[in-house]
Subunit: 250 residues, 2 copies
């Protein structure tokens, strides 16, 4: 468990870090960052919700079902990449992606999911989401990330409501969806406090009161950049891509 | 340790897998595949050569020095990405990259390395490579991969000779450089049998007689594709990105 002080980012600082990483001076492509972020999400999910044994006589895809709710931006893309890794880990991801982003990377990751026989549901499947949630082992909330500024627009208001009503354990990606990135759970329409959270790059101010199982992932910020921005970054162990910073040790 | 039978790929089949993954039907970008490959290389390196404690009173960069020799193609790119991850893990990578590839991804990863204060040496530093190798904890051989067809051209003949003469433990990426991808160590000018090897996607026929510490990495081949091509792929454990298939257990 990580115990040293860590900087919680304002929305503006989170955006500045992201922008600089993907600038010519930073040298990162969105493909690279999203791959590492998605892998970190999947590894956190696997740590919190270990693969369950598949009892004989029942279809193997009826256990270890994970519903990943993916939003229209990069947070949703992290969820898509996480779904691919979870499929390789042996889970059965079901992706709900009602507002697919029309960019090559997002189309291609969706194609990768189809090649793994992952069910990718669009807006036409919104009426079946309750049922998918009911059969889930856990839920990944990849609806909104550090760019979220509200209000929560349709259909995501409904998705958040259904996740809350399912009472399934949730792993949120970067910030629980609908929470203010700096102020936390302000809006009654936001996600209930999730069972687990994985902050990407560094936690955001809105998660500073979060005491659940909290990981940080996204091990790619150069120390010189962190120093220049005055950031106390989490220290990872060995070759790990995630580090736990609060909550029951998993 | 993985004990089930695994397919060793011909050069042609390795190329077919790579081509299909990056086709529109496969949906992968080179950025994604190289990121996962490079991470797997770095994680194998960290497993075989654990980070050594830094004794007080000596410069921290004088221990855990890793010389990564990177070739002109994608194998070299995997080495560059591995160097970035090794820097984050706490190693001091020194990259020798005498024939840099003039493509944005390769330029950008080199930029990422500079942002981590990683020394990236070009052809003008060839005379200092002996000295860099002498001070290395271990060497990563990322000169040639599954596309290699010989002969070994300058300056890589000399680099291989110097690695051999250094007697440092080597981790080779995909296939020991200079080995025939299908027939193994045929050429007296190739790399001596390395201490460790990480095959990417699946091992190549040329490594079938290799009995050292052998990992497979690159956990991204869809099972349906493997079945269609008749491939017995290694089975990874949990959320691991590498799996050991032979040699002393590490």
């Amino acid at each position: 468990m990580h115990t040293k002080p860590i900087t919680y980012l304002t929305q503006r600082l989170a955006q500045a870090v992201d922008t600089e990483l993907m600038s010519p001076a930073g040298g990162f492509s969105i493909d690279q960052l999203m791959e590492l972020a998605g892998l970190a999400v999947a590894q956190a999910a696997a740590r919190v919700f270990p693969l369950q044994p598949k009892p004989p006589g029942i279809p193997p895809t009826s256990v270890n079902r994970v519903v990943l709710c993916c939003g229209p931006g990069n947070n949703g893309g992290d969820g898509l990449v996480a779904a691919r890794h979870l499929a390789h880990f042996g889970y059965t991801p079901i992706v709900y992606y009602p507002k697919p982003t029309d960019k090559p990377l997002f189309r291609n990751v969706t194609q990768q999911l189809r090649n793994l026989d992952v069910l990718v549901l669009g807006s036409d499947a919104s009426s079946t989401i309750d049922s998918q949630l009911q059969h889930a082992y856990f839920v990944v909330d990849a609806l909104f990330g550090f760019s979220f500024a509200g209000p929560i627009r349709s259909p995501f208001d409904d998705v958040i409501k259904k996740i809350n009503e399912s009472h399934k354990p949730v792993l949120s990606v970067d910030i629980p969806s609908g929470w203010d990135v700096e102020k936390g759970p302000m809006d009654a329409h936001g996600l209930d406090t999730p069972y687990a959270l994985i902050s990407l790059t560094a936690p955001k101010l809105g998660a500073s009161g979060y005491t659940g199982i909290h990981f940080v992932g996204g091990r790619f910020v150069p120390p010189a950049m962190a120093r220049r921005l005055g950031l106390d970054m989490p220290e990872y162990s060995g070759a790990d891509q995630i580090v736990q910073i609060s909550g029951l040790k998993v």
